[in-house]
């Protein structure tokens, strides 16, 4: 848009970057060069320093030492604006689009030179012409709040290009997309790098995306550059060894034979979705003991509403839910009597009191239960402390102390804490939603082990997940949700990703 910005892809280089926070060295003498027109992947576990590095590049942090070169020239990244003026842009994991504004409004307002009065007809003509040059289309007249995650992701990328940025940092761009959407978006991005229009640095966890799309890779571990090179010259084993320090332990998950009796049945369940415009209709779903029933689907197809129905957060407008043969009204008393537990998505928001302590949050299932299952009136501080210590240890929750606010924990630790709480005691049924969203490799593996273990001891598990790999790895039986309905069912033995993907996309 602005004259100063370069037309084509640009080279960006970070030289001897070090970033210290007090005593802690988040980034230790890292140098990487991202060549013009290349698709560069930045691999590393959570806390490896990937975000610190890109924040230094984008000018959010001021590196303790080291320098940046853009097109070979020394660049002072004093603040994000400086980076933007040089044509560097970042697509965040959490969308920075304004929900109630339309796509077109979002694009126009993000520009630095918005006219005081916007002539929408002229703007639209210009936007349409601009979109002609884009590899993918985005609905410009819809408010962002009504867009699917994939559309938002595309709009974020389009926005950066619209702003004239020629070096894009993508922060785990596919974490909210289906495999097909991810392939589509990354495919287009790669095509644009090949054409020499942009340079891309992508932060990722996923080896598949690195091998399928990237040209070069850099791997960070504990703040240090531990390896990298051209994709194809470096094997997946080498990459994972560099990333983890050693080859990742692939846990042996044995599926025990279990007795399968119906636990939870949904029949003709109807509810209104959060926009109030669409309905959720689930004709018949039965969850059995000792099985993991996976519910796959693209985000926004009613899975969140299904979870809310089952936790009692959303009102039923029809149908019935039975638990162990009895009508189930989603109350705490019933859930307790039937030993039903939940791990909702975003547990900090949906399953915790963020400002209360870790110990108190861990006590939510037991604080009002006295000896012999009677309800207790007085709070038993010692029992709460014992419970907290035991769960923190058993589930490896990293917290400064049991008295720390749960909101101060990292996402993975909150997830583990809530899972620990929900799996404590006898559990006959467990409903989990995206249990591994945003977690690192080792946390994911630990949580999946726990789920299989619970299944093997006869717990019925309903697994709602947007991660198809997770569904394929854990489920005994798979349902696909599309547009608020269950559109497909298959046992794991006959499931294949292509077919599931088609049903997820709504053409089965």
């Amino acid at each position: 848009m602005t004259g100063r910005k370069p037309r084509g892809a640009i080279t960006v280089e970070a030289v001897h970057m070090t970033m210290k926070f007090g005593d802690f060295t988040a980034l230790d003498d890292v140098s990487i060069k991202i060549r013009a027109g290349s698709f560069h992947a930045l691999l590393g576990e959570n806390g490896a320093g990937k975000s610190t590095l890109v924040k230094c590049i984008m000018g959010f942090y001021h590196a303790t030492s080291g320098e940046m070169l853009v097109e070979g020239f020394d660049a002072q990244m004093t603040d994000p604006k400086a980076a933007q003026e040089l044509g560097l842009g970042m697509v965040y994991q959490h969308f920075t689009l304004v929900p109630s504004l339309t796509g077109a409004e979002n694009l126009v307002i993000s520009r630095a030179d918005v006219p005081a009065v916007i002539d929408w007809r002229a703007e639209r003509a210009r936007l349409d012409a601009f979109m002609q040059t884009m590899p993918f289309s985005v609905p410009l007249d819809q408010p962002v709040s009504r867009m699917a995650a994939g559309e938002k992701q595309k709009l974020e990328i389009v926005k950066q290009l619209y702003l004239g940025n020629r070096f894009l940092i993508l922060d785990e761009p596919t974490s909210v997309l289906t495999p097909a959407e991810a392939d589509e978006v990354l495919g287009y991005v790669r095509a644009m790098t090949r054409a020499g229009e942009i340079t891309v640095l992508m932060i990722t966890h996923k080896f598949r995306e690195v091998t399928a799309f990237a040209d070069e890779v850099s791997i960070l571990r504990r703040g240090q550059y531990v390896g990298g090179g051209k994709v194809g010259e470096i094997s997946i084993e080498e990459m994972s060894r560099a990333m983890m320090g050693a080859a990742p332990e692939v846990s042996e998950r044995n599926r025990a034979e279990t007795v399968k009796t119906p636990v939870l049945t949904l029949k003709g369940v109807k509810a209104v979705d959060s926009s109030g415009l669409k309905t959720i209709e689930i004709d018949a779903v039965t969850l059995h003991s000792g099985e993991i029933l996976g519910i796959a689907g693209i985000s926004g197809n009613g899975q969140m509403e299904l979870m809310e129905i089952l936790t009692g957060q959303r009102r039923l407008t029809g149908g019935e839910i039975r638990l162990n043969g009895q009508p189930f009204g989603m109350t705490r008393a019933e859930a307790r009597a039937h030993k039903l537990r939940y791990l909702p998505e975003e547990p900090l928001r949906n399953a915790c009191a963020p400002r209360m302590s870790v110990a108190e949050n861990l006590a939510f299932r037991m604080f009002d239960e006295g000896p012999g299952g009677r309800s207790a009136f007085w709070k038993d501080g010692r029992a709460i402390a014992r419970n907290a210590t035991a769960l923190i240890e058993a589930f490896k929750v990293k917290t400064a102390s049991p008295a720390a606010r749960i909101a101060s924990l990292s996402g993975g630790n909150v997830q583990r804490a809530v899972l620990g709480r929900e799996l404590s005691g006898e559990v006959d049924a467990l409903i989990v939603s995206n249990p591994c969203f945003g977690l690192d490799f080792s946390a994911v593996s630990a949580i999946r082990d726990r789920l299989i273990e619970a299944r093997n001891t006869g717990t019925a598990i309903l697994l709602i997940s947007e991660d198809l790999d997770e569904i394929m790895e854990l489920s005994d039986r798979i349902l696909v949700m599309s547009e608020g309905r269950v559109s497909f069912e298959t046992p794991i033995e006959t499931a294949n990703v292509t077919e599931l993907g088609q049903h997820m996309a709504g053409h089965g």
Binding site: V98, S100, I118, D119
Partner: protein, 308 residues
């Protein structure tokens, strides 16, 4: 001209005239609140701003002899109140609702204190335009005496709707009201935008107050406001943060407020005080009817503490 007996036709006519008369302060206060809330902040202090605007407008009109200077003074006073509210709310951990209540009491108290000498004198009224020239019936002429501020309010609603859609200022206000983070990412300063939006909203509420003392009822007294400033907040929610809807909602409220006097004028005296409560009953009823346990509120600015 002598009154002509027009029978029950007098009721709708009186309601129409009353709606136009009573709704004007609602239009200004609700448009001001709409602007403030669209930027993600609630100003409950508009009741105090309204009363202070009524006092300062009346006082300045009396001192200068010009009602328009009075309106201007009320706007400036209202803006100062708004800016003060906005400035306090900028600080970490300050709750805009609590500050608003404090500002409401402060504004009313200050207005009563400073306004004591102006209870007796008579200030010039704002002019009205007669749209009833085509009719011989005096009641029709009286009902269609439309004051200039009502017309200005209608135009303002249209301008504000256009502003939210097609101007940089409008989009900036919407961005800030929707997502503080997104606003920062674009390089906007949410505090400054909210400060200015609260200031402008306060100015409009001040004008609404000036209308009360300079046109209808047309004099300054301590009981001048009957909660219009607070009702306007409910009205904005009912209007779903849309300026054009604010205008119609204000008219509806005005009509409901005129129901009591209209019935009284044709001799209905039974349950007369009940009809005076009509706007309040209407507020409650409409808010209940338009709410839903299943749907998120449509059109609500997401950064608003009401919707958080």
């Amino acid at each position: 001209m002598d009154p002509v007996d027009i029978g029950l036709w007098g009721v709708p006519l009186a309601i129409l005239g009353g709606a136009i008369r009573v709704s004007t302060p609602f239009i200004f206060v609700s448009l001001g609140e709409c602007l403030t809330e669209r930027s993600g902040r609630i100003n409950l202090g508009l009741e105090g701003t309204l009363v202070f605007g009524a006092m300062s407008g009346y006082a300045m009109a009396y001192e200068t002899g010009s009602p328009f200077i009075g309106v201007l003074a009320a706007a400036v006073a209202g803006m100062l109140f708004g800016l003060f509210h906005g400035w306090i709310c900028k600080f970490e951990g300050v709750n805009d609702i609590a500050v608003g209540i404090a500002m409401m009491l402060f504004g009313m108290g200050l207005a009563f204190f400073l306004g004591k000498p102006y209870i007796q004198p008579v200030a010039p009224d704002l002019p009205a335009i007669g749209f009833g020239w085509w009719s011989d019936i005096p009641q029709v002429r009286a009902a269609l005496q439309v004051n200039v501020l009502f017309i200005a309010g209608g135009i303002l609603a249209l301008v504000m709707a256009w502003m939210f859609r097609s101007t940089r200022v409008g989009l900036v206000v919407r961005v800030v009201g929707d997502s503080t983070d997104a606003a920062r990412a674009i390089g906007l300063n949410p505090d400054v935008v909210r400060l200015l939006a609260t200031g402008a909203g306060g100015a409009l509420a001040g004008v609404g107050g000036a209308y009360l003392s300079l046109y209808y009822p047309g004099s300054w007294s301590e009981g001048i406001s009957s909660g219009q400033g607070l009702m306007a907040v409910a009205l904005v929610i009912f209007a779903r943060w849309n300026p054009i809807n604010c205008f119609w909602a204000a008219l509806l409220f005005g009509g409901a407020g005129a129901l009591g006097p209209a019935l009284q004028s044709v001799g209905v005296s039974e349950g007369y005080y009940l009809f005076f409560a009509a706007p309040y009953v209407l507020t409650l009823g409409l808010l209940i009817l338009t709410s839903s346990p299943d749907r998120a509120m449509q059109g609500a600015p997401l950064a608003l503490s009401l919707t958080k």
